[in-house]
């Protein structure tokens, strides 16, 4: 009865020691405190899911356990921010970007308080937990809120860099992040500038504009296609708002077709944001919007869902081939 458990067994509180990708949030905040920033962090009963337990252990006086009260958490964070501190509050993106959407609008954005909102396990990354836990609408809701910046890092190191680079931004920022298991594209030292896309290349035939988790597989898909003689580039549009319109226009001017790749409904998300720029500027270029096609996801483990919805490297390569065929 009392013998040791199998090494294959695991329990919730050991999540982030088993999954280093979850530590970037806490690491950034711990470093920001060390740099003298007045950081207060909070979570709605998910500190082991977002890795804030590490911050809570390092700075128990600076961590607030809000319980399962997302709306109170967001508004209280705005109240804290009015006193000159920078609150960083985290919960599943489905709850942050949708359940607490009005609190973000009224209390963070309309009041222009520099709250950092961390929506984690976004997109379909919670797999078979199902639609209640998926966030395929949060870019759409957050992007339409004035005075709110929206950032979708591709991996943990980029989250780390983005949190540090934007710490003096006077208004709120919604960070849409994954589950901490994304393969790294960047290192913590890769420069991050809010609103300035990272161009991994503009393809003469096709440029894939991606954000968040699909950046890594898009780069892999582009490598494969370029190895067969095609010309495919990738832009990491990590900031959804303010959108790097110039980067979109550069790609539109040099590629023959564009494609967006996002872990989000194609309505309201990155594809929509890019389409708005192309329409505004009268660019006569076709855009293939790849993502979730206005539907609720099936039930499956995350990697199975990424394969099913063509958001892994094979899938993005497949969709990109389809786009190339339409040139």
């Amino acid at each position: 009865m009392n013998g040791p458990l199998s090494p294959n067994s695991w329990q919730y509180r050991a999540l982030n020691s088993a999954n280093p990708g979850l530590n970037f949030l806490s690491d950034a905040l711990i470093d920001l405190v060390a740099d003298g920033h007045k950081i207060i962090a909070g979570s709605a009963d998910l500190q082991y899911s977002n890795g804030l337990n590490k911050f809570a252990k390092a700075h128990p006086d600076r961590y607030i356990s809000f319980g399962i009260s997302e709306q109170n958490m967001v508004t209280a964070a705005a109240g804290i921010a009015t006193t000159g501190m920078i609150p960083v509050v985290a919960t599943f993106a489905s709850f942050l970007g949708l359940l607490a959407c009005e609190q973000i609008r009224m209390d963070c954005a309309y009041c222009a308080q520099p709250v950092r909102l961390i929506g984690h396990h976004t997109g379909i990354s919670l797999g078979f937990y199902g639609t209640s836990h998926h966030a395929t609408e949060d870019i759409g809701t957050m992007r339409s809120i004035a005075d709110l910046a929206v950032v979708s890092p591709a991996d943990g190191p980029q989250l780390y860099a983005a949190l540090k680079a934007t710490i003096d931004h006077p208004e709120p920022i919604y960070f849409r992040i994954g589950r901490g298991r994304e393969p790294d594209v960047y290192t913590k030292d890769t420069p991050f500038v809010l609103g300035q896309a990272i161009e991994h290349g503009i393809g003469e035939e096709l440029t894939i504009i991606a954000c968040g988790l699909p950046v890594h597989p898009a780069l892999e898909a582009a490598r494969r296609l370029n190895a067969t003689g095609r010309s495919v580039g990738v832009i990491d549009m990590h900031t959804l708002k303010p959108l790097d319109r110039a980067a979109v226009l550069r790609a539109a001017g040099r590629s023959r077709i564009l494609m967006t790749a996002e872990e989000h409904n194609v309505i309201g998300g990155l594809g929509a944001a890019v389409a708005e720029v192309l329409a505004d500027e009268g660019c006569g270029i076709r855009l293939v919007r790849h993502g979730i096609q206005d539907e609720y996801s099936l039930i499956a483990p995350p990697t199975h869902l990424y394969a099913h919805y063509k958001l892994d490297a094979d899938g993005i390569e497949d969709v990109a081939k389809g786009a190339l065929a339409r040139i």
Partner: protein, 293 residues
């Protein structure tokens, strides 16, 4: 105050002098009259929501709160937030009189581009500590401020005026849990218990009683007061503001009358929102001027 004084004696030390009482009564009258004047500009407004809260506004802004009108962002100022932001028309004349905003701005209430609308906007109006308009948020924001004040070792108090209909918002109870759990002793909620909301009597629309027991069970100290008895109300607020020993947030249930001061509004809850023709406005003004509350 003597340390060995009996509780009754201590309480009496917060009592209002006759001069204070007369002054605050005049301020409450001023708030009602200005509300009528400003709503005449907008041609629609929340008369009776202000009238139930006029004494609360007067006691806070002219007696209890620590403020510096010439320094609206003073870090140690007391904060005031409105869950019932639709009563802001009663607050704007106070801010103008105290010097936060100029008279010209006040007189342009709701006109194109003016910072003053039906609900308060902290980015546009000096002296407004938090924007509101979406009922149910203010207590969370005030709790955040009180938490931050304690963390920063500052001595400000946070007063949050809530509507009684607002008790129907779930977020209020999230905030009540949060403040009780964290023992935010510098947080004071004042419920304007005027008994009415848009669709009728609060307790017909969605019953909220027993309020005292509810708040007490959430870990709050609860005090009840007649919200129009300025003597009782202001001395209670003085006492709560001065109390350094309380280990809990404090909730005041202020029993009030919607439309208090204008008899035809006191008997017709529809005046939550409305417009008075100048002839009827004059009747209201005459009554406010002739009556002592």
């Amino acid at each position: 105050m003597q340390p060995h004084a009996a509780p009754e004696t201590r309480r009496n030390s917060f009592a209002l002098s006759p001069e204070d009482l007369a002054r605050l009564r005049e301020k409450a009258r001023f708030i009602r009259l200005e509300t009528i004047r400003l709503i005449e500009i907008a041609k629609v407004g929340h008369y009776s929501s202000v009238f139930s809260a006029a004494e609360i506004f007067a006691a806070l802004y002219y007696d209890v709160m620590r403020l510096r009108a010439n320094e609206p962002n003073w870090a140690d100022r007391d904060r005031f937030l409105m869950g019932k932001g639709h009563a802001a028309v009663g607050l704007f004349p106070i801010l103008a009189e105290l010097g936060y905003i100029d008279r010209e701005t006040l007189d342009g209430y709701t006109r194109l581009g003016n910072p003053l609308g039906d609900h308060p906007d902290m980015r546009k109006v000096p002296g407004i500590d938090f924007s509101s308009g979406s009922i149910g948020h203010a207590l969370s924001a005030g709790a955040g401020m009180a938490w931050a004040g304690r963390f920063e070792k500052r001595d400000f108090a946070v007063f949050v005026m809530l509507g009684d209909g607002e008790m129907q918002e779930g977020q209020v109870w999230e905030a009540a849990l949060f403040a009780g759990h964290n023992k935010l002793s510098r947080l004071v909620a004042i419920i304007d218990r005027n008994g009415y909301q848009l669709d009728g009597k609060v307790d017909d629309v969605m019953a909220v009683e027993p309020l005292t027991e509810k708040w007490r069970s959430f870990g709050w100290e609860v005090r009840e007061v007649d919200g129009h008895d300025l003597s009782a109300l202001a001395s209670l607020l003085r006492e709560i503001r001065a109390d350094e020993s309380r280990q809990k947030p404090c909730c005041i249930v202020a029993r009030t009358l919607k439309g208090k001061g204008v008899s035809y509004m006191e008997t017709e809850p529809g005046w939550h929102l409305g417009y008075l023709d100048p002839s009827d406005a004059k009747r209201a003004v005459d009554e406010i001027l002739s009556k002592e509350i």
